[in-house]
């Protein structure tokens, strides 16, 4: 019976092949780093604002900017770019491995077919 993929289905929480498991793992890692950076930074800023007296937060200067301006306005976009680069490098390597596997499969598969004929 020809496997057209219909019996398997796609579910991000139940990846069925090793390749997809790898892809989902890196997606989960990047998303976790994305979420922790956004929520974590804002929680930290909120905590400092509410628990430190006066305008202490505005007076911590980093790269010429108040800490919260630097963290949200400069660092987070840079962090997102970095996450994108890491994800792409991993995906490029992941797909190269898969592609190499496909060539091997095709070569073997073709040879088997020729033998059967």
């Amino acid at each position: 019976m020809v496997d057209n993929g219909a019996d398997r289905g796609i579910n991000i929480f139940k990846p069925q092949t090793e390749l997809m498991r790898g892809e989902v793992r890196v997606i989960a890692l990047v998303m976790a780093a994305w979420l922790v950076a956004i929520v974590g930074s804002q929680l930290a800023i909120w905590y400092l604002e509410n628990n430190i007296i006066d305008y202490w937060l505005s007076e911590i200067v980093f790269f010429n900017l108040p800490l919260h301006f630097w963290l949200s306005g400069q660092f987070l976009p840079l962090w997102f770019i970095l996450l994108g680069v890491i994800f792409n490098l991993w995906m490029d390597r992941h797909e190269s491995r898969k592609f190499a596997g496909t060539i091997r499969y095709r070569a073997v598969g073709r040879r088997k077919e020729e033998q059967q004929q």
Binding site: I10, N50, F63, P66, F69, L76, P77, F80, I81, N88
Partner: protein, 509 residues
């Protein structure tokens, strides 16, 4: 910021910039056009990135963000994070698979993936809605700039701006101009950053990287005027700030004209790297935009109004106001205005064309004339473009809010509807037509629940604010999609096979 006469030099700069774009588009060697209203010219990863960034740049980036910083300080950081962080979602969850899917528009994707003409129709209507709301935000920016350029009132500027946009699209179409997006991006970023360098240099700050140099203005506001630049969560709760931020991210990953970029990338790797380059180019704008807002405050303080709350209706023009108050050469101000107008014009023309295409190719043949030939559809697209333009002009005559906040409503609608439809369509093959239809309709209801139901049920205003509804709305829509899909018939085995083989490229196990 008012003027009573025509600003001749800036006007000449505007004409020169548009001429450059038109000539640059005509001289383009690589031509890529599409009946769907998306056209472009780029090659490689850098080119894809420039195309994504130039497609993204609009009045909201050029004017709206700085206006919000000027008015509300740190609150506006939600937009910076939302409009950049959304690209991470796009990259890791959608870009590769959308490129493999091979459908040109959001309604096309929804119709094919969910095997449903009804779902396609709803997606087309939502896409048109998003285009109209987003265009209203753009028109506010156009009106502010045109009003200053020609020395006319706001409403006259809306009509004049509308006439100029339509004329621009007709001329571009007649001459067969293709958007030279790489050229466009690099000109626009110079038009945005160069005036900032002039301003920061004139103030004696570190002008080489004004994205950091403007920090001295914050310190000066504190030390010289006793003005502390907005405590982060003084005017908004942490929940609402995060709700706005995540709504903008979900919306970024659900805007039809953004998603359509990935179908056009030359390869899957180009699609992915294009997103990262695009994010870098977009970040250059957002690293710079807060500076205009902060400098606007500094100039106010120097004029003796350190603690005056700016007028929300004029705050959107702070990019221009700051440039004028800073006393930089008039040609630099002209460059800034020309860049802002070009960003808004291209955003409007792209959105109106994609809205018109959604009507002509997705709705018209299905709802009105099933035998429509391609030439009929093209004629309908042109006609509906004019109808949409007239509608947007009419809606823009009365200012309803700030540019970035109006844009945020469009993002919320996209985040509540198109984003869940794409996310579930790609990552859970069991999602079916009934699921996506109920999800998208619920998404529309959630998006407008605050003005519709907020009076009766005040809790709705807290949970689903108009500009921030997708934070809780999108997860709710996804839950409904799952429940309804499980309760109804699964998609066909052909479609599941297509998803497995073609979209996720899993091949044989």
């Amino acid at each position: 910021m008012t003027s009573t006469s025509i600003q001749l030099v800036p006007l000449l700069m505007v004409v020169a910039l548009f001429t450059l774009f038109i000539v640059g588009g005509m001289g383009s060697k690589m031509r890529q056009t599409s009946d769907y209203g998306f056209s472009g010219n780029y090659s490689g990863r850098l080119g894809s990135g420039a195309a994504i960034a130039s497609n993204w740049m609009s009045a909201a980036s050029f004017l709206g963000l700085a206006g919000l910083f000027y008015l509300k300080g740190y609150y506006a950081m939600a937009f910076v994070i939302g409009w950049t962080g959304g690209y991470v979602l796009l990259l890791v969850l959608l870009a590769t698979q959308i490129r493999r899917f091979g459908k040109f528009t959001a309604p096309d994707f929804v119709g094919f993936r969910y095997e449903s003409e009804a779902a396609r129709t709803v997606a087309a209507l939502i896409s048109i809605g998003i285009s109209v709301i987003y265009c209203v935000a753009q028109f506010r920016g156009v009106a502010l700039l045109v009003s200053w350029l020609f020395g006319i009132g706001y409403q006259a500027a809306v009509v004049t701006g509308g006439a100029l946009v339509v004329t621009f699209v007709v001329i571009s179409g007649t001459l067969g101009v293709v958007r030279n997006q790489r050229l466009q991006y690099f000109v626009l970023i110079v038009a945005f950053v160069l005036p900032l360098m002039f301003l920061v240099r004139k103030l004696g700050y570190f002008w080489v990287l004004p994205q950091f140099g403007y920090g001295q203005a914050i310190i000066d506001l504190q030390n010289q005027f006793g003005f502390y630049w907005s405590e982060p969560f003084a005017t908004i709760s942490l929940f609402h700030w995060l709700a706005l931020c995540f709504t903008l991210m979900f919306g970024t990953a659900g805007l039809p004209h953004v998603l359509s970029r990935f179908y056009m990338a030359p390869s899957i790797r180009d699609a992915r790297w294009g997103v990262v380059w695009g994010l870098f180019f977009i970040s250059l704008i957002y690293w710079s935009a807060p500076a205009y807002g902060v400098l606007g405050r500094l100039y106010d303080a120097r004029a003796g109004f350190a603690f005056r709350t700016p007028d929300p209706m004029s705050a959107d023009a702070v990019t221009l106001t700051a440039a004028l108050q800073g006393g930089i050469p008039v040609w630099v101000v002209g460059l800034l205005v020309a860049g802002g107008l070009a960003a808004a014009f291209y955003a409007i023309s792209g959105l109106l064309q994609s809205g018109a295409a959604a009507f002509a190719y997705d709705l018209y043949p299905r709802l009105f004339r099933s035998t429509a030939a391609d030439c009929d559809k093209l004629a309908m697209a042109k006609g509906f473009f004019l109808v949409l333009a007239a509608l947007v002009i009419a809606l823009s005559l009365r200012p309803v809010g700030m540019i970035a906040e109006i844009a945020a409503v469009a993002f919320a609608l996209a985040g509540n509807t198109i984003f869940p439809a794409f996310l579930m369509g790609i990552w859970w093959s069991r999602t079916n037509a009934a699921g996506v239809l109920s999800g998208m309709l619920l998404g529309v209801l959630i998006s407008f629940s605050s003005p519709l139901l907020g009076g009766l049920f005040p809790v709705v205003n807290t949970l689903f604010p108009l500009t921030s509804s997708a934070f809780l709305g999108a997860p709710l829509v996804i839950v409904v999609m799952i429940v309804v899909s499980l309760a109804t018939r699964p998609p066909s085995s052909e479609l599941v096979g297509f998803l497995t083989r073609n979209v996720h490229d899993l091949g044989e196990r």
